[in-house]
Amino acid sequence: MAWTSQQSARLRLEMEILSRYFPSFVLKDSIIPGRAVVEGAMRSNAGHEYVVRLRVPADLPNSVPIVEIVSPVLRDRFGHPLVDLGTSYPMHLLKPENDVVRICHYSASHWSPNITFSKVLLKVRAWIEAYEGHLDSGFSVDHYLPHMEA
């Protein structure tokens, strides 16, 4: 299977938007639907760097992309790896699939093909600030970010 022409156009568009707002993000393994990822670094207000990976869905743009924080290894305030939490409501995490932290950003019932990678990454950017807030204060990510309604 290959990308359809609409999907190829959409991928080009996504990358053009990202080049403006998240210029460090690049497309990898772009030939194979289901394998393609968009990866790049994000810097928090405090100056810490996070490598974020967005898995491009094979049915782009019709389903929610999986978003993971590849590095550093994230720990909670008490030193426990976040990945061990699995699915976590207070920390806005979904069940990890690749032994790295997976962020809950848009829920399937709130997904729409109008949502671009750039909008997804904005949410991840907000999650990172909330995570650092947690490290400072002990409040969970939930305290800083509103949940998507089910």
């Binding site: 299977m1 359809t4 609409q6 156009a9 959409r10 080009r12 568009l13 053009e16 938007i17 094979a58 049915d59 743009p61 019709n62 389903s63 699915t87 976590s88 409501y89 995490l93 979904l94 069940k95 809950c104 829920s107 399937a108 019932s109 997904w111 729409s112 093909p113 109008n114 671009t116 949940h147 998507m148 089910a150």
Partner: protein
């Protein structure tokens, strides 16, 4: 009463053409109601038959005359059935003017009784009663793809079969469960079966000559296969239960330039809506449902798999279970029926038929229906005697247009960068 035997005329014609005069062949027959009604076939019918299985033998007689009891060959030994069950003997022939004829005998240990044979007419005659209302011969050549064979899609399939649509592709990967039965066209004797196959059997009950292809797969995971099926069809009907599949099907309908009809019920089937998408002419599914049209009218959750697929994984099981709130079949039927009307209008386009004038009325692409003054319709006035305000149990066509910012149907896509 004289026992009654129904035989497919097409099968008898086939038998007359390909059997020697002295040959005996065996086929399945099904008995009903204390051996008073029989359905006989020369080979196993394409749908799941009902009734209790009964032995049936066919032979052909010369056109000069039909055989009777005394001429039955003793070598067949047909009276030695266990439990004393009767054996059906059907003697088929051609009348002098070439029409098929059939004589039926019911043979038991105690003797032979004559039964009345009736033909189930051939394909060309099955829908003659509809002639004039629908362009039957043309609809017989039409192909529809139906995605989702649950409480919404299954009655749509059946109604289109009744109207004479001849070709179906049924797509669903769900099996019929106990909780589906009260809202589904299939019953307990189809429990556990794929909905596609169970509905195919129901379609063949209405039109034994329909051509029904089934695909037991998840449309989100078989994109190119499903798109090929849609490309080979005249109309796409979407009665699936999740947005991801509707977004994917929307893209396929645009890619293949096939009209698509989307129907859904809202929570507890308090109401529902039907969207018609004429690709590139009117709004697409994304134009309408990404613009917040569906907000406040949450989709009905009728089973756990559906709820789990759209809810964030951290939602507790208790809440998932609480979201499964199903409505009555009678509340789903108006939505299914509206989809059928829109489908027949689309399929009859270009032909002068009895429903052509409806096309002038169905100018809207989006229709809203309320069953009860609940949920999104809670503030509607009571129906009373007025017809000048919105009320339950009436269809409303809403004016919806293309969204100039739609990321799916705006062309070219790159124009998004200008905004």
């Amino acid at each position: 009463m004289t026992p009654l035997v129904y035989v497919l005329e097409d099968q008898v014609q086939e038998l007359l053409a390909h059997t020697r005069a002295d040959e005996w062949i065996e086929g399945p027959a099904y008995a009903f109601d204390d051996w008073t009604v029989f359905h006989a076939y020369t080979e196993k019918p394409p749908f799941a038959p009902a009734g209790s299985l009964c032995r049936c033998l066919y032979t052909r007689a010369d056109a000069a005359g039909l055989v009777d009891e005394e001429h039955l060959p003793h070598s067949l030994d047909i009276t030695r059935e266990p439990d004393g069950q009767p054996v059906l003997v059907l003697v088929v022939s051609r009348t002098p003017d070439g029409l098929p004829a059939c004589q039926a005998l019911l043979v038991t240990a105690s003797g032979t009784t004559a039964a009345a044979a009736q033909f189930v007419p051939r394909r060309s005659e099955l829908y003659s009663r509809n002639a004039g209302l629908l362009e039957v011969s043309a609809l017989g050549h039409k192909r529809v793809v139906i995605v989702g064979l649950g409480s919404g899609g299954s009655p749509v399939a059946l109604e289109l079969a009744r109207a004479g649509v001849g070709h179906f592709t049924l797509i669903d990967f769900d099996r019929l469960e106990l909780g589906n039965i009260s809202r589904h066209v299939c019953g307990v004797n189809d429990l556990g079966r794929y909905k596609t196959l169970a509905v195919r059997d129901q379609v063949l009950q209405k039109n034994p000559y329909a051509d029904v292809t089934t695909m037991e797969l998840n449309v989100n995971q078989a994109l190119s296969q499903v798109e090929d099926a849609i490309g080979a069809s005249d109309l796409l009907i979407v009665a699936s239960d999740n947005d991801q599949s509707r977004f994917n099907l929307n893209q396929m309908s645009l890619n293949t330039n096939r009209v698509a009809l989307y129907g859904r019920a809202i929570t507890r089937a308090a109401g529902g809506e039907v969207l018609r998408v004429r690709p590139w002419q009117g709004p697409c599914y994304n134009c309408v449902f990404s613009a917040g049209v569906g907000q406040g009218r949450e989709e009905e959750m009728s089973q756990k798999r559906q709820a789990l697929s759209v809810l964030p994984a951290y939602v507790e099981e208790e809440k998932v279970n609480a979201m499964i709130q199903v409505g009555l079949s009678s509340d789903i039927m108006p939505i299914a029926n509206m989809m059928v009307k829109l489908a027949l209008v689309e399929l009859s386009r270009g032909m002068e038929t009895g429903i052509s004038s409806v096309d002038e009325d169905l100018v809207s692409d989006f229709y809203i229906w309320a069953n009860r003054r609940e949920e999104a319709y809670a503030n509607w006035p009571a129906m009373g005697y007025k017809w000048t305000h919105p009320s339950i149990l009436r269809w409303y066509g809403a004016r919806v247009g293309r969204d100039p910012n739609c990321m799916v149907c705006r062309t070219p896509l790159a124009a998004h960068l200008e905004t």
